[in-house]
Amino acid sequence: MQWQEKYEGLISKFKARDKAALAKMISLIEDNVVDSWKIISKLQADSPPKNSYIIGITGSPGVGKSTFISKFVELFLESDEKIGIILIDPSSPFSGGAFLGDRIRMFELTKSPNVYIRSLASRGASGGLCNSIYDIIEVMKSFGFDKIIIETVGAGQTEIEIFYACDFVILILSPDSGDEVQIFKAGIMEIADCYVVNKIDLPSSKKFIVQMENFLNSEKNIQKKLFGVSSLENKGIDKIKNWIELQQKEAKDNAVKNEIRKKIRVKNFFINVIENILINLSTEDSDIFTLRNEVLKLLCKEIGGE
């Protein structure tokens, strides 16, 4: 059967903005990147994707990323925007399994007609996201979300892929997430567009914010905005929303990032296909060159025919 026929039903449901079809499409991207690329390009050829604004939320484990998103998204719903949310948690390097727990913090949003939430496992990707994320963003744009919000895995100092995937990155910090020395070691400080100190309902937050302000004043090359919020008590989050909307208006078309994204998509495409080939390949009797040639042959077979 031709792929067009095989996915006809799915594609037409997708175009009718059926969330179940979007959900299936995302699974297809994760499981079968070769077919999903054909579908994505068909969707884009049939109608131009929405120019969704992509907001990344990152920060150490437990700083309150998911709780923040639950309150942040509600603000956009007031103005009837359509929001797609992607929540990424780490896969176990040993079992390959994952406990996807971010959704628990925003379960009330589940039944909101303008919201779609999807939990994903990182599946071995090391940048804080998953390899499929760029393709998933493409289908979410085609689905027509005004905003796409992406939560990274609990990120440390090197999980900075969110910078390429998103138009705007919020780094969430918490007064209980270590002292300022640790925080400013992190490469992640440099990629964020603004800093949000969450949990200002905690007494220790005052000291922490002063430390942050002192640091920002002393670093001439880091001119970034700092917000204090309590996601638990829903305080201060509206200020961030207003500021981001201003940034969005002023944002220039980011040609440089778009070119980088294209390259990463291609790279991840090959990684996904090759990983699938290797899983099913017996390596016992072959030396490394035979194996390489074998993979190359299968790779051409897998993606050939176009």
């Binding site: 969330k19 179940a20 959900a23 299936k24 995302i26 699974s27 994760e30 499981d31 079968n32 990147v33 070769v34 896969s91 176990s92 079992s95 390959g96 399994g97 994952a98 406990f99 996807l100 727990g101 959704r103 628990i104 379960f107 589940t110 039944k111 779609y116 939430i117 999807r118 939990s119 496992a121 599946r123 990983e275 699938n276 899983i279």
Partner: protein
């Protein structure tokens, strides 16, 4: 291609007993599955909608409150209404006499206390894989 099993472990109703659900979620994760846990006190509507958005291969309900008949019936009928085919299994404190009726309405398996985790993992795998192909 490589297909990971995705399951949702859900706690419908007012039941606050979550130890069993968490143990099952952990066991399935350790068996290589991707597990979405809903947390406690979810409505049948929320569970079905979340399962659809997450495109899981199986829904595992955990109910210790005694309200299993009503909750399961509601969830199964919502799935039918939405025209999604998703296997549903159930675990918790379920009296032996209720099991035939639950299976009749479409619950595929029922697991009561004392079932080994290995057995649960194997059953979940085979039920979920059956949906994948």
């Amino acid at each position: 291609m490589d297909k990971k099993i995705r399951v949702m472990i859900a706690k419908p109703g007012l039941d606050g007993h979550d130890r069993g659900a968490k143990i099952i979620a952990r066991a399935l994760r350790d068996a290589g599955m991707e597990v979405i846990y809903t947390g406690i006190r979810r409505t049948p509507e929320e569970i079905v909608e979340a399962a659809i958005q997450e495109d899981v291969d199986l829904i595992g309900l955990s109910i210790l409150s005694g309200a299993h008949n009503i909750l399961c019936k509601k969830i199964i009928s919502l799935l039918k209404e939405r025209e999604v085919e998703m296997p549903v299994i159930l675990g918790g404190i379920i009296p032996e006499k209720d099991i035939p009726e639950l299976k009749e309405m479409g619950i595929i398996e029922v697991f009561t206390p004392g079932t080994s985790l290995n057995e649960i993992v194997e059953k979940v795998k085979s039920i979920a894989m059956a949906r994948k192909v």
